[in-house]
């Protein structure tokens, strides 16, 4: 149990042995078990954990927004001494918004797409106060200005889709702050945002906490974010609090084995020193690659987006080339053009001396085995209606490998990615995200490609699983003499995995270089901004920590 030392007076929010029961037939009986935590005024408490740890459900329980059939099973939720668990729903509605502000992960879905942003903020005031209209409107502009939206008058009139992701999240925060709640609950508010935008939103949250003395319960999966803003940390696993303490202590001297394992799995931002291997012969040479998206037809308005505006690079044998950038930089477009899932408008892609773009469809199809792709989303990248064995053997069968030989290769690949041979008869939904990503990798590797294009292969995975998949990728690369194009938005991952890095911004490569050089001395302002925005860059995971014990 936690001890009560939340500053002077009673804490703003205190959960006392809160338990939440899941409906019968779920994978466990309790979603939350004896969760106790406290948030004092003016304090940022980070709840950190992997998927399924119950961290989001904790927020929902506080707000009285538990999904149907999920019920409170005991404990108290005290907001300034008042037990919310005992209140009727009508009273809770008055407390939500007025005394507890809430910021969600995805600002696009949390905002009503058919209502101007200003009107949505105003609605909060209309619902909870009797201020006259002119006063409300003035307050809306004041709030939008306070959260750092550059042109509040224009933003108030804009619809959500007309604002950028960061602006939308600022508007959400303005809404949450409209009634000056003492407590702000933020559920992964920066996860859907680009890293530079994330840095600015984190700064805003910190600023609000400092200026208004708001208590913040900040839910995240990212230890970098924790290092950035937390005053205190609560670590959750399987619905239980396993460790809690001041941020410095948890980050630098974690006590619980799970916390230690989690922190050890966070990739350090400093690239490891690598033996300077002489570059092998070039495998993949890309020149002048361009792609412009055009939409609209005879009757629709034409829209033109220049996604990739001339990209050149060379991938050498045995090398891992990282392509980093934020959303809209064109990095995924490049990846898809490499495997011809998208037609390039101009340029050439020479794979082992042969221009892939000059081939017709059936000639290219015959060469697909040599360049393969691993996708981001482990849940969308496997056909839910086919067995794992069929999925992995699919490419081999298409290219005419006899059944028996294909089956042998499937077994070999399953062993390589560390899955049980019995997996071939099971369906994708029977596997976890990390296992599914291994299946996707096995599917690509079964073709014995010379180049593997990995598009954000670990972005959708929990940090501990992420480490396993990256290790596996490195092993496979060694064993199969692969060359890798690794697309990521995560500079920590890039630092650990890539030999060389291309930084892309708005369809152009703005900087390219060896990983160590690029991280040590970034030359382009955009690269510098990216590096400066990595959350928790001042924190060295593992430094000062006791050697991590194995998790599980």
């Amino acid at each position: 149990m936690t001890v009560h030392h939340a500053g002077p007076g009673a804490p703003l929010l205190a959960l006392r042995t809160l338990s939440v029961r899941l409906p019968k037939g779920a994978d466990r009986e309790f979603a939350l078990r004896d969760v106790s935590l406290q948030v004092a005024a003016g304090e940022i408490v980070c709840v950190v954990g992997e998927s399924g740890s119950g961290k989001s459900l904790t927020a929902m329980a506080i707000l009285g927004l538990l999904p149907g059939r999920v019920t409170l099973a005991g404990g108290a939720i005290e907001l300034e001494g008042e037990d919310l668990a005992a209140l009727p729903p009508a009273r809770l509605r008055g407390i939500r918004g007025a005394r507890i502000g809430m910021v969600f992960q995805e600002p696009m879905t949390a905002l009503n797409p058919l209502m101007p942003v200003g009107r949505q903020v105003e609605e909060m005031l209309e619902e909870h106060t009797d201020q006259p209209r002119p006063q409300r409107l003035a307050r809306v502009l004041e709030l939008l200005a306070e959260v750092g939206i550059p042109d509040p008058v224009a933003a108030a009139r804009a619809f959500p889709h007309e604002l950028s992701g960061g602006q939308r999240q600022r508007a959400m925060i303005a809404m949450a702050l409209a009634l000056e709640p003492r407590l702000l609950i933020a559920d992964e508010p920066t996860t859907a945002l680009d890293v530079t935008t994330q840095a600015r939103i984190l700064a805003l949250v910190k600023d609000i906490q400092r200026r208004r003395g708001t208590g913040v319960l900040f839910i995240t999966h990212d230890f970098g974010v924790v290092a950035e803003i937390a005053d205190r940390v609560v670590v959750m696993q399987h619905g239980q609090v396993v460790e809690t303490g001041p941020a410095q202590q948890v980050l630098h001297a974690p006590q619980h084995a799970y916390t230690q394992a989690l922190i050890a799995a966070v990739p350090p931002l400093a690239p490891p020193t690598r033996p300077a291997a002489p570059p092998g012969p070039p495998v993949l040479a890309v020149q002048g690659l361009r792609k412009t998206y055009r939409s609209g037809g005879v009757l629709a308005r034409k829209r033109v987006v220049e996604a990739v505006r001339g990209v050149d690079f060379t991938l050498h044998q045995g090398e891992t080339l990282g392509i980093v950038g934020e959303s809209g930089s064109g990095k995924s477009t490049v990846a898809r053009m490499l495997v011809r899932l998208l037609a390039a408008d101009a340029g050439s892609i020479h794979l082992q001396g042969e221009d892939l773009l000059a081939l017709n469809n059936s000639d290219f199809r015959a060469r697909t085995a040599r360049i393969q792709m691993v996708f981001q989303d482990p849940f969308a990248s496997l056909n839910p209606r086919r067995r794992v064995g069929e999925i992995i053997a699919q490419g081999l069968r298409v290219h005419g490998t006899p059944r028996a030989e294909a089956e042998a290769r499937v077994a070999e690949m399953l062993a390589l990615v560390g899955l049980d041979p019995g997996a071939i008869r099971r369906f994708p939904h029977e596997f976890s995200g990390g296992q599914r990503q291994r299946i996707g990798l096995a599917r690509a590797l079964a073709m014995q490609p010379s180049v593997l294009v990995a598009d954000e292969p670990v972005s959708a995975l929990d940090v501990s699983v992420q480490a396993q998949v990256l290790r596996l990728l490195a092993e496979a690369k060694q064993r199969m003499a692969l060359s890798l194009v690794f697309i990521t938005h995560d500079l920590r991952v890039a630092a650990q995995v890539c030999d060389r890095i291309l930084v892309m911004q708005r369809g152009l490569v703005v900087e390219a270089g060896a990983t160590a050089t690029l991280f040590a001395a970034p030359r382009h302002p955009y690269t510098q901004a990216l590096l400066a925005s990595v959350p928790g860059r001042g924190w060295e995971p593992g430094a000062g920590a006791t050697p991590p014990a194995r998790a599980e």
């Binding site: 037939g25 496997l382 056909n383 839910p384 599917r443």
Partner: protein, 277 residues
């Protein structure tokens, strides 16, 4: 037992639908057994009320035909028309919708204009035109009913394909070198089918109703024992011997209801959002 089947058996609508369907099927299968005579032949004095003659359970119509025998034999015709017309409508619709949705662009534009051309004409008017042109044999009617009903499944399949074709597993298969036909039929179609299967039950019910409507207007094949034919025949004595039209009407109602309920049960079973806890 698969989870979908288990979910189907949990749905009361599905079970009731299956029960009614079994009833209709038994009637169709046992027609030759209980009523070996030609259902179109004279069985006794015309217009005997049900129960009046113990040998003729449901009485006779105004042409002296045995209504009970007619209903059982008619079940065959109705089921056959429903089944074949549905296969035609859903098959054609799925094929066109799959190609339009998968390729998009001008292929989609062209196919959708054709679909719209069909949709702008009311279904039943189109059916009347087809029957007027090609005659009213059972085969023609069945295919004509299928032809007027393919547009709705087509749009459904197209919408599914448009959302599924950009899924990563489809891209992955494409990246492995799978041909378009493989992508369409092996990767996308199995995932696009559940709503189509549910909709097929509606198509089947509509097909049976359409044939009855045609028969009521005297435009169906007069040489078959179809329920609509009997309703049409009973029209002239509707005010006094209403049972002649009402009994086949109930048979149609039960059959259409059976298919609708089965469809609802399938929807419950195949819709993953309802299956989730």
């Amino acid at each position: 037992m698969s989870p979908a089947l288990r979910a189907f058996l949990r749905s009361p609508a599905g079970i009731l639908g299956v029960a009614l369907l079994v009833l209709v099927l038994v009637a169709a299968a046992s027609a030759d057994w209980f009523f070996p005579r030609d259902p179109l032949s004279l069985a006794g004095r015309p217009l005997q009320w049900p129960g009046q003659n113990p040998r003729l359970l449901l009485g006779t119509d105004n042409l002296g035909r045995d209504i009970a025998g007619f209903i059982c034999h008619g079940a065959r015709v109705s089921l056959l028309i429903g089944l074949v017309a549905t296969v035609v409508a859903v098959g054609l619709g799925t094929l066109v919708g799959a190609i339009a949705g998968f390729y998009g662009g001008w292929v989609d534009d062209a196919l959708m204009r054709v679909t719209e051309a069909f949709q702008t004409v009311p279904n039943f008017i189109l059916l009347l035109v087809l029957v007027a042109v090609f005659g009213s044999e059972l085969e023609v009617i069945t295919i004509a009913i299928g032809l007027v009903g393919w547009t709705a499944p087509c749009r459904l399949v197209r919408a599914e394909f448009m959302s599924l074709r950009t899924r990563e597993y489809v891209l992955a298969a494409r990246g492995l070198g799978v041909r378009d036909a493989g992508l369409i039929f092996r990767e996308i179609l199995p995932n696009a089918l559940p709503p189509v299967i549910v909709y097929a039950s509606v198509v089947m019910a509509v097909a049976i109703l359409m044939e009855s409507a045609l028969a009521f207007l005297g435009l169906s094949d007069p040489n078959i024992a179809s329920w609509g034919n009997m309703i049409g025949a009973g029209r002239s004595v509707l005010r006094t011997e209403w049972y002649v039209s009402a009994i086949p009407g109930v048979a149609i109602l039960v059959t259409v209801l059976a298919f609708s309920l089965v469809g609802q049960g399938l929807n419950d079973a195949l819709n993953p959002r309802l299956q989730a806890v």
